[in-house]
Subunit: 103 residues, 3 copies
Amino acid sequence: MTGSNTHPMRLVTIVVEALAQEPLTRMLTEEGARGYTLFEVQGQGATGARVGDIAEFGNIQVEAVVQPEVAVRILDRLEREFFPRFATVAFEAEVRVLRPEKF
Amino acid sequence: MTGSNTHPMRLVTIVVEALAQEPLTRMLTEEGARGYTLFEVQGQGATGARVGDIAEFGNIQVEAVVQPEVAVRILDRLEREFFPRFATVAFEAEVRVLRPEKF
Amino acid sequence: MTGSNTHPMRLVTIVVEALAQEPLTRMLTEEGARGYTLFEVQGQGATGARVGDIAEFGNIQVEAVVQPEVAVRILDRLEREFFPRFATVAFEAEVRVLRPEKF
């Protein structure tokens, strides 16, 4: 992308029931995320009996910019520990950051 | 990107006047979005007389992760139905999701 | 990505102390951003004495979709003017927009 002073990193986004906030943010820190932002959101997931759907109220969206290898570990733990227990949506995207030494 | 267990998808983001919430979320569901998140945001659009600018207050941002072909249909309906009626900004990005069968 | 009617652009995201709101949004406008969205967020940055970490409360996330050359100027001014004064995280991503003439 643009500048010579931006560096490739991953933005990991997790939408989850608000009750998962504490274990989620603790896991992010354990796996090496240096920070995150947390939004209270309204959401509407698929209706019906699917495991992992998002409830209509009381969700949070948590975003963390991390090194690629940290993203791998976070996604792995989401898959193993959070998807079975909480209504969770998780995705990653490529971003370029200023001041990569902070991440 | 990272893991063998993530799958390419599109993140469609729409910033729009809050009064468009009901028709927008209904359209997303009709076109195949399995869920979305909704944020109340402050925004400031370009000043002046342009059609489609974002008003200073009372906007929402709606994000939906969808299959690529669903993104095409959503963007097409935004273009045809929402841009003429509401102050709307819409964009899409590539993301990789866990558990693609939910989308 | 998808449609013939979407156009490449940059999404610049800035997470910063709320007290930076006024100078930040003024700078975005000066550098050519036609609009932005602003979220109040909770965040948690790295602990310790690093300059530029995000405080636990009172942060905003500001997102602006801009032309690539505008993104370069915004990131440059963030680097020079905001990182020394405010706890700031900034990143950019590729997005594709509808109605590029608005940006």
